[in-house]
Amino acid sequence: MAILTAKAISKSFHFPDEIEILKDISLEIQSGEFVSIMGKSGCGKSTLLYILSTMDTDYTGELYISDQLITGENAENLARIRNSKIGFVFQFHYLLAEFSVLENVMLPAKKLGVKSKEEIMHDAMEKLKLLNIEDQSKKLTSRLSGGQKQRVAIARALINNPGIIMGDEPTGNLDSKNAEIVFDIFKELTEKEKMSLLIVTHDVDFANKTDRIIHMEDGKIIA
């Protein structure tokens, strides 16, 4: 089953000059697949990721998540889809410094509002356990190391049990040891939880270990 389908996606920047940054991109990601996108800086891979993540709506083409057409939805619905179906991990952790680790992880689930506070707290602890940082749950995020912060960010991405996790260079700021830990976590998620992963990366070693690599150049998929 395809969790994510993109059909003929193109995008242009109109300012300052007319530049076509993505040209007719079509791709499909199956449930439980671990996919990485590689390419040189400026080839449009991050831009593609933001379109696939529904945050960028200025494009032509069609985007489906779980076989549901996403293109053309209003901002409110897109926010709900992002909340329930997509998890994000960025290069920078983007944790809220005023909140504890646990509260940061709980936040998207509170927004979803399906479960009670106790259930959410229980889920959040489960996710932290999965990532081996449950002992840090009461700390403020500013007191964690870089690798720990990134793992908290992954836990936050997982809290609503999304169908797909998207990462924009999630290991970009980490040393090789922490990068490896993050990779192992991702690998485990696809194998055990049947979660799909779409990771934009520069790291060749990282990409080589994934199920499939999408190579991009000048706004096109070349392999």
Partner: protein, 242 residues
């Protein structure tokens, strides 16, 4: 008058009228109105005595002063009296028109000054929240990326502004109350109003409510405009800008 003539309660005085009669009067009490103009020249006798001094019959009356429970009704009441008894009636507002104008101008000045100050304070809050939004840009981006919509983000900042308004408003009222009660106990001696020993302060719930309302309204607007900006921020721009 009592001091000028070196008189005290129980003394007798004699007054002569224009007609040449002389009346002996006993001082049975001392009265101070607080207005030196009145206190320097006025003294009071009962009605029969006054009629005798003036040499008039005992149905002669020049003025009747009527005190109403509600001062605002005085003009209407005066008109009604004029029609009913065919007399000249003057309400207190027209009798004291000069005083009324003075009060009005003073009120106008004090309101103008306070509104100016509050607007300045409102701009201060606006500035702080504006800076806060730039500082919290990353947090806004991740909230939006993880599924919080624009109105959610706007509500966060508006509620923060309202919290500032409530806390600030209540603290301001408490501070205002403390300061005004200090002023209330400050000695204030003036020849014009000898009965008043400290500065007169009017504690009225109305003024506190006006203050609180203004605090809430101004902070709401100070928060509303920055929050609109936060609502419109594009998470992609912020995340890619890193």
């Amino acid at each position: 008058m009592q001091k000028k003539l070196a008189l005290k309660k129980g003394d007798y005085i004699q007054i002569g009228t224009i007609g040449g009669e002389i009346h002996a009067l006993k001082i049975i009490g001392l009265y101070q109105s607080g207005m030196s103009d009145i206190d320097n020249v006025h003294s009071y006798v009962n009605l029969q005595m006054a009629q005798r001094i003036l040499g008039e019959s005992n149905d002669f009356i020049t003025d009747i002063n009527i005190k109403l429970k509600h001062m605002e009704e005085s003009p209407a009441f005066a008109r009604a009296m004029e029609i009913k008894f065919n007399i000249t009636a003057v309400d207190i507002q027209s009798a004291n028109a000069q005083f009324e104008t003075g009060t009005f101008v003073r009120n106008l000045i004090s309101y103008a000054v306070s509104i100016t100050l509050l607007i300045v304070a409102g701009f201060g809050i606006y500035n702080i929240l504006n800076m806060l939004i730039y500082e919290k840009m990353n947090d806004i981006a991740i909230l939006k990326a993880t599924g919080f919509s624009g109105p959610d983000v706007r509500w966060i900042f508006i509620s923060q502004a309202i919290i500032i308004g409530i806390i600030g408003g209540v603290l301001g009222l408490i501070l205002g109350y403390i300061v005004s009660s200090i002023i209330d106990h400050t000695p204030f001696n003036t020849q014009a109003m000898p009965t008043i020993k400290t500065y007169p302060i009017k504690y009225e719930v109305k003024y506190y409510l006006i203050g609180l309302t203004f605090a809430l309204v101004s902070t709401f607007f100070a928060g509303y405009f920055p929050s609109r900006k936060a609502e419109k921020m594009d998470p992609v721009d912020i995340i890619r800008g890193q």
